[in-house]
């Protein structure tokens, strides 16, 4: 029902694009610092753990870089990153729309004759979905740099072995698989958060509950869809 109201051509294109650019900045650009920070650290940690678990003379030395790259591509920068962003972006959307609901701002829009769901939710969904592939690429790159840092600043692995592993047997399909997953999860995060916010009732406490429900349920949905998509696409 809500999506039927959301997925319509906006009343005013100019207003839509203005909202869209605001959301790009709010949901996308403002997520960059946390994406970079987490990705660099996780990349470094993955490299150390991969090296520890592959200390075997029978295994090639480049395996650490390969494992780091594929873990980042296949799971971290698509799924785990989206679980993290569900906390940041999802709670932000649910609390913003929920507060607008309980302070009658959404009623005010409806009484003006504005399709509030379309005006408020569509730009958020489109903006986050259009930022997600870039966040994925940036996250993967940052993770790989984190792994390179382990080679550069410690004696756990040599940079040569690490870079060889990162480039070895690269399958470009993994990138497309990860981007498809990230796009689906971006839709799940924004639409579920918007739903919980839009139908929030009561006071500040209820907006808090809506925000929590949005994050928890979108996390569950992401994990469930990750399983389905992995089965279908790999």
């Amino acid at each position: 029902m809500l999506m039927a109201k959301v997925l319509r051509v906006p009343d005013r294109q100019r207003m839509f694009w203005r909202q869209y650019s605001r959301e790009l900045e709010k949901q996308g650009l403002q997520s960059l610092p946390i994406v970079l920070l987490i990705s660099v650290f996780i990349g470094a940690i993955l490299t150390i753990q991969a090296k520890t678990n592959t200390e075997n003379p029978l295994l090639p030395t480049y395996i650490t870089g390969l494992l780091t790259r594929d873990t980042l591509l296949l799971e971290f920068s698509s799924t785990i990153l989206c679980l993290i962003l569900a906390g940041k972006v999802g709670s932000n959307i649910a609390s913003e729309i929920g507060t607008m609901r309980i302070t009658e701002q959404i009623d005010a829009m409806e009484i003006m004759g504005v399709n509030s769901a379309n005006y408020l939710i569509l730009p958020k969904i489109i903006a986050f979905m259009s930022m997600m592939p870039f966040l994925f690429i940036i996250s993967t790159a940052a993770g790989l740099i984190g792994g390179w840092g382990v080679g550069a600043f410690t004696d756990i692995i040599t940079i040569h072995d690490y870079l060889l592993g990162v480039q070895y047997a690269f399958n470009p399909y993994f990138v497309w698989y990860a981007i498809i997953k990230a796009l689906v999860f971006a839709f799940v995060i924004t639409s579920m958060a918007s739903y919980y916010g839009y139908y929030a009732r009561g006071g500040a406490l209820d907006v808090g509950k809506a925000s929590t429900n949005a994050v928890v349920n979108s996390n569950i949905m992401i994990l469930f869809l990750d399983l389905i998509l992995s089965k279908l696409l790999l």
């Binding site: 009343d11 207003m15 607008m100 009623d107 005010a108 009484i111 003006m112 004759g113």
Partner: protein, 252 residues
């Protein structure tokens, strides 16, 4: 003109509005009064179309709300201005952006014409120019109400709905807001409906007063008739305050 004809509204079998009929004319401040839980807000929300009535008709200049499709209701809403109890200004927009918003959504005016109209409306509600670029959270409650009025009238509505316009305001500011609502009603000849239980407001601006009790229409009249009415329930409501009791005794 808005005609309410014999409307009934219930929630889960509990009748909240019981066969209410009234006529609200243009150029008048029509007030819906009554104690908390009397059905004022439900009546107002039913009139705007936020609630669907069980039976009866609500006619906006002859156009029956019940027969309208959702698209037509949205078009009707463009003729409606609404002042909410908590102002309901968009907190992500400045004062000026709030007033520009309805025009940006619906008017075909150029940017400079919109700006001019918004400035006119803000001046009309006596908002000083220095606050136009502030956010709603940075201005006082009374100023928020003024901005909400400016936003409500910016598209020159035919109907103005005000839900508890004086809620949370000091008596002096309440008088200013009341005067503004009355002036705008006369000036633009719009049909204004005010939901209130503030006796000062009722006596100041109520041209046509509808008194509800437990979902029934108990009494209807003007502010000049209210003090001399013999209706027991109305008198209980009006003279709940010792001050008004003294006024009545003094009048006698």
């Amino acid at each position: 003109m808005i005609e309410v004809k014999d409307i009934v509204k219930s929630f889960d079998g509990n009748v909240v509005l019981d066969h209410i009929s009234t006529v609200m004319r243009d150029g008048e401040v029509n007030m819906i009064i009554g104690q908390s839980g009397s059905g004022k807000t439900v009546l107002m929300k039913s009139m705007i179309g936020l609630h669907t009535v069980d039976s009866g008709q609500i006619l906006f200049d002859g156009r029956n709300l019940a027969e309208m499709r959702s698209k037509d209701i949205r078009l009707l809403h463009r003729e409606v201005g609404m002042l909410f109890q908590g102002s309901a200004l968009f907190d992500s927009m400045s004062v000026m952006e709030n007033v520009l918003f309805p025009m940006e959504m619906f008017s075909t005016m150029t940017r400079s014409q919109m700006q001019e109209r918004a400035e006119f409306c803000l001046r009309r509600v006596e908002m000083p120019e220095r606050v136009w670029n502030l956010m709603p959270s940075e201005i006082s409650g009374g100023q928020q109400k003024r901005v909400a009025i400016a936003r409500a009238i910016v598209l020159e509505p035919r109907y103005l709905f005000c839900d508890e316009p004086n809620s949370g305001l000091d008596p002096k500011t309440s008088l200013v807001i009341d005067a503004l609502i009355q002036d705008i009603t006369r000036e633009y000849n719009i049909c204004t409906i005010v939901n209130s239980h503030d006796m000062n407001s009722i006596l100041e601006i109520g041209d046509n007063i509808l008194f509800l009790k437990n979902g029934h229409k108990e009494w209807q009249g003007s502010r000049h008739e209210i003090m001399s009415s013999d209706n027991e329930a109305l008198n209980d409501f009006v003279f709940a305050s010792e001050l008004f009791k003294k006024v009545k005794i003094a009048n006698k």
